[in-house]
Amino acid sequence: MTAYDKTDVVIVGSGFGGSIPAYHLAAGGAKVTVLERGPWLETKEFEHDYLLGSSYTRAFDFVVGDGMSVLGGNCVGGGSVVYFAAMPRAPKFVFERHGSIGRRMWPSALTRDSLEPWYDRVSESLPVSTQDWNDVSYAGGLWAAFCNHSGRTANPAPVAVDNDRCVNCNFMMAGCRFDAKRSLLTNYLPAALAHGAKIRPLHEVQRIERIDDGDYRVHFTIVDDEDYRLQSGSGTIDAKVVIIAAGAGATPVILQRSEAALGTMPHAVGRYFSGNGERLNTAIINEERVREVLGLSREDGKVYEANHIGKGPTVANWDKLDGSLPEYERYSLEQLYFPPGLGTILAQVPDGDEPRWFGVQKKEILKKWASWLTIFLMTEDDNEGVFGAPPPTGNAYRISQQMLGRGPLKYDPTPNTRHGWALADAECKEILEKDGLAKVAPWTNDVVGAYTVHPLASCRIGDDPATSALHPNHELRDHPGIFVTDSASVPGALTVNPAMTIAALAERSVPGIVRALQARGVDVTYGAPAPDGSITGRRAVGKLSLVAGS
């Protein structure tokens, strides 16, 4: 089967980077087609189930690289369907980072202050809300109590969750069955559809070529609904503008594979990948000591034993998000739930004998799983990831029918990155092991490399052509009409959960894309309200000179 089609804009991927432009461009009058390689799951299909083939494996991709593994979304709605909806804005100092290049890595036009109106648009659209202590799960409360006991502060994290609907099942990584998580399936995507955008699931884009009139032809294959290793049929679709938002693990691979047809890619395509400096520590809680020292207990008399209850991260320690500290010494420590399966195997036995990730002692800590407290470290890494030669299709050699694959990413952490990890690990240990409250160990990197759930920066924006793949307006250097608006465009680690910043950058990119479409003769304007019709955010960004159209 070969399909052929034509539209104004093709968007590759339907996560934050794809859905946000899809909505605004469709609302502005452009013909928009979104190609998503994963399935289109309805709310009733989001299961509480670890069976292979349930939504848990259908909606995710886990790609093992050399030194780094990447966990990401693979469904309509992308990362927003599988993330835990923590939505902090990145601290000011992040935008001033130099990272591995010895100069400011963000474009000069971008600061926390200049991004603030775009953050506001996202906050209104999802919406994002602040949390109080009544919203905080037992695990988050426990982490807060630990932080307080060791003289530190702790913050309930802002989240995109409707607390009135949330049942604290902690299954939101397999998609939210209760529509409590404000994923893109509840806001931007239905609004885009209402304005005529087309979404095609199970369409995996393989490469892009330029056709005679300056437009682009996007080549895709059709992925089997159950066994993603199988592909049946292919097609193309032509567009005046292409937006690539396939995620930092896949976006550069599509561009690499397109190089033969499009011409040389900027040096930074497939380089400078960041794992957001991420690392996980697993603490085994001493329940009795927590009762004695922290005075905590649940309504049912238990102290904690609640690893499985909650809604992902609810409380973070931000004491080291201090711009006066040196680079690589700033990080956040966030309570996180991580479900069993792929994650549990990487937990190591604190103070155990080798091997610490499998064997007798590991089984003993598995039996204390309800008393685990997982701490998620987001540090400043060195953008050291590099993508090798692309696999024949997609961004990985698929191993399992779903989820598991082997990819070409290589990541060899520098001493700077290791230094940041070591400091954050040490701080975790100091907080958690004080007065015998717990024992903690970092996850091992030896099994599947370092591990990120927030891949970034493989195709980043910047002012310097040598170290950035995209102009500050997200247009691919030397390839006008191709934009990258997803996590790949974020220049480096953010020290906090990145979804809010990815979404704000996507919002910020839209006026420039509107201008590019207008220059190509497409009748499109910018200025749609939030998906629910709210206009506060539109008013704020309307004052910015970036805005195009009427």
Partner: protein
């Protein structure tokens, strides 16, 4: 020596038992080394999961079992271990020797690391998430891994809900530089 199929099964069981060890099923159980009380990965269904097509490793299992036994022979020779020839070589190793061999096969830099890590991953998943069964059914059937880890049963519709989820107390001072959006400054 047993049939090829029996060799494969007991070799893979011994590998699974090295990842999440358990107690012997019967006195003469060679595949399970008996290193830990209570059921381990084998009784949790490791072989069943490995033979689930969705894993993508199923067709490679005969090769992995054969290769594991080859590695076990080399290991035994290098470490002056005498193997019981009535058993597959990996099964004939002690738990400590199995563990040492699996450590080397899964260590960074080993050329076959990917395959052995995948095998370990699925063996672990059989115990900690019963990925070959619907979770609610596995719990209802008394799946040993899920029960050992303290999973509770879902509501009647197979969904988990926790009406009580919070200590509902202010438990720390928030950072002084928190913005009105609840973010760091």
């Amino acid at each position: 020596m047993d049939s090829d199929e029996q060799v494969e099964v007991s070799t893979l069981e011994a590998y699974a038992d090295t990842i999440v060890p358990g107690e012997k099923r019967f006195p003469d159980d060679h595949a399970i080394a008996g290193a830990s009380p209570g059921p381990g990965a084998v009784v949790a269904g490791a072989l069943e999961l490995l033979h689930t097509e969705a894993t993508g490793v199923t067709v490679g299992l005969p090769y992995l079992a054969q290769s594991l036994n080859e590695h076990a022979k080399v290991y035994a020779k290098e470490n002056a271990v005498t193997l019981d020839e009535s058993l597959p070589p990996f099964v004939a190793l002690s738990f400590a020797d199995r563990t040492a061999l699996v450590r080397s096969l899964t260590a960074p830099g080993h050329p076959e690391k990917d395959g052995w890590v995948s095998l370990a991953l699925f063996c672990n998943m059989s115990f900690d998430s019963a990925a070959h069964k619907h979770t609610a059914e596995a719990i209802a059937e008394g799946h040993p891994g899920l029960l050992a880890m303290g999973y509770t049963a879902p509501d009647e519709d197979g969904l988990w809900r926790f009406p009580k989820f919070s200590y509902r107390r202010e438990l720390a001072r928030v950072h002084p530089d928190t913005t009105p959006s609840g973010s760091p400054a």
